[in-house]
C-alpha cells in the first residue's frame, strides 16, 4: 500500500524539520548564528491515467487524469542570512558587522573560513584571534603597551600607546562577501567555508558599496526568533501526528482485507 510509504516520508520530513528547529533554538544565544529553515517539496507523481490521453475514438480527451503523489522530501535546508540585532557588550575586541560581509579567519589547516561572530580576543603574541585562537585575516597585532583600542566603522584599528596622545593605525579589518551566502558550508564553531555554490569570496573594506559597517564594542546576536520557532515546532509535531494517523488507518484497512472470510 502506497499510503504507508507516503505517510512514512511525511514523518521523516517532519522529523528533519524538528531537528532544524531544535538546532535553531539551541543556538538562540550563539553570537552571529543564522537561523535555518527546512523547505519541503512533493515527491514524484505516478501517472495512473495521463491527462490529455484519448478517452474515445471520437477524439475526446481525459480532462484531468489521475496523478498520485509519492509523498514529501526535504527540498533544502537553507540559512536565512538577515541581520541579527547588535548587542552591546563593551568588549574591547568585540566587533559586529552591520550589513553584509564576513570576517576571514585562518584555520590551522591553512584554509580560510568565514564568520559573522566578531567576539575576538588577543593571543600571546598580541594577535587578534577568535575564541578558538584562529587568527583573523589580515593579521592585526596590537602592541603590548596599547592603552586603548578603537575599531572604526570602516575597519581601521587604531591604538593609543602609553605616553602617546595621538592614535596610531595598526591594521585594517577586511570583509568578504559572496553572491550566494546561503551556499556557504557551516563547519561548526561559528565558521563557514566557501563552496562551489557560494561562489568565490569578494574581499573589500567595511563601509564600501556592498559591505556592511563595523560596530566596535558590540556583537551580533543570533537572528533566531523564539516565538516563530516554537510555533513552527508545534506545527511540525501536529503534522507528524497526522502522518502517523495515516499509517494507522492504512494498516487497519489492510488488516480488514486480510481478515475477509472466504
Amino acid at each position: 500500500m502506497r499510503a504507508l510509504r507516503t505517510a512514512a516520508s511525511g514523518m521523516s520530513a517532519q522529523q528533519l524539520n524538528v531537528e532544524v528547529i531544535s538546532n535553531n533554538i539551541a543556538n538562540m544565544n550563539t553570537v552571529g548564528f543564522k537561523r535555518q529553515r527546512a523547505e519541503f517539496q512533493d515527491l514524484l507523481y505516478q501517472n495512473v491515467e495521463r491527462m490529455g490521453a484519448q478517452s474515445s475514438s471520437q477524439g475526446t480527451v481525459v480532462p484531468t487524469g489521475i496523478q498520485i503523489g509519492a509523498g514529501v522530501k526535504a527540498g533544502s535546508v537553507y540559512r536565512i542570512t538577515d541581520q541579527g540585532s547588535p548587542t552591546q557588550t563593551g568588549g574591547r575586541y568585540d566587533v559586529a558587522i552591520d550589513g553584509r560581509g564576513y570576517f576571514q579567519i585562518l584555520l590551522p589547516s591553512g584554509e580560510t573560513a568565514f564568520t559573522r561572530a566578531g567576539n575576538f580576543a588577543l593571543n600571546g603574541e598580541g594577535q587578534l584571534v577568535t575564541d578558538d585562537g584562529y587568527a583573523v585575516q589580515p593579521n592585526i597585532s596590537i602592541p603590548q603597551d596599547a592603552v586603548d583600542v578603537t575599531i572604526s566603522k570602516t575597519g581601521q584599528v587604531q591604538v593609543i600607546t602609553a605616553g602617546q596622545t595621538e592614535p596610531s593605525i595598526v591594521g585594517q579589518l577586511e570583509l568578504a562577501s559572496f553572491f550566494n551566502e546561503a551556499g556557504l558550508e557551516a563547519i561548526g564553531d561559528n565558521l563557514l567555508m566557501e563552496t562551489a555554490a557560494s561562489g568565490a569570496a569578494n574581499v573589500g573594506t567595511p563601509g564600501e558599496v556592498g559591505f556592511g559597517q563595523l560596530l566596535h564594542g558590540y556583537t551580533e546576536a543570533s537572528n533566531v526568533d523564539a516565538v516563530a520557532e516554537i510555533s513552527a515546532l508545534i506545527i511540525a509535531q501536529r503534522a507528524y501526528e497526522m502522518n502517523s494517523k495515516v499509517i494507522t488507518t492504512a494498516d487497519q484497512m489492510l488488516s480488514v482485507s486480510a481478515q475477509v472470510k472466504s
Binding site: D42, L44, I80, A239, M253
Partner: protein, 244 residues
Amino acid sequence: MENAAYVGLSRQMTLRRELDIVANNIANADTTGFKVEQLLVGAEVGDRARNAFIRPGVSFVLDNGVGRDYGQAGLEQTGRNLDFGIEGEGAFFTLSDGAGEAYTRDGAFTLDPEGRLTTQGGAAVQGDGGEIILDRSLGEPAVAADGTISQNGNPVGRLSIVRFDTLAALEKGGDGLYRNASNATAIDATDVQVRQGMLEGSNVNPILEITNLIRIQRAYESVTRMIENANDLSRRAVERLGRA
C-alpha cells in the same frame, strides 16, 4: 451472482487510491506552495445481462480523475529577501530547467555562484527578458507587487508570472513543479501580486483530510463486509442446493 463482489472490489480499489491521495496531502501539509488533491469518483454503468430485462444494469465505481484545488494558501512571513509568495490564485512563477519550462508556486529562491536567480533545486527563474541576474554588491533586491526587481532603486528585471486558461492543462512534476501537459499557452498574469519575504504555505486543510481518512477507512470496512456477506450468501446457497 458474482457482481456484488466485483462492484465491491471496484469500490475498494478506488478507496485505496483515495487513501494514497489523502496520505500524499497530509505528507505535504507543510510543503511550500503545495495544492491539495482529491480523487473524483463516479459511477460506471455496466452492460445489462442479455436475458434479464427486469434487472437494472450494474454500476461499478470508477475514478475519473484527480481534482486539484488551486486555492490560495496562507502566506507565511520568513523575512528572507529572496522568498516570494504569489497572492492570487492560479498564477505561477516561470522556471526553466533541463526539461524545458516549468511552473511553480514555491518562491523560495536563491542565487547561484554567477548571481542568477534560481530555485533551491537549481532551475533558473525566468523574468520578462530571460534569466534574472542579481549582483548583491549593488544592494539588496527589492521586489514590487507586480514582480519588478530593483536594486538601489534601479530596476534589474521583472519576475515572469503566468496563468493558464485551463488549469487542467498542468501536470505535477514533483519538487513543487508543474509542467504544461497540453498546448495551452501561458498568459501574463497582471492581476496577481508578489509579496517579498513571504512564502505560500500548503492549502491542505488538516481537519478535512483527517475526516477523509476516517470516512475512507469506514467505507472500506463496510464494503469489505458487503463482499463477505455476498460470499456467505453464495456459500450457503451452494450448501443448501447440495443437500436437496
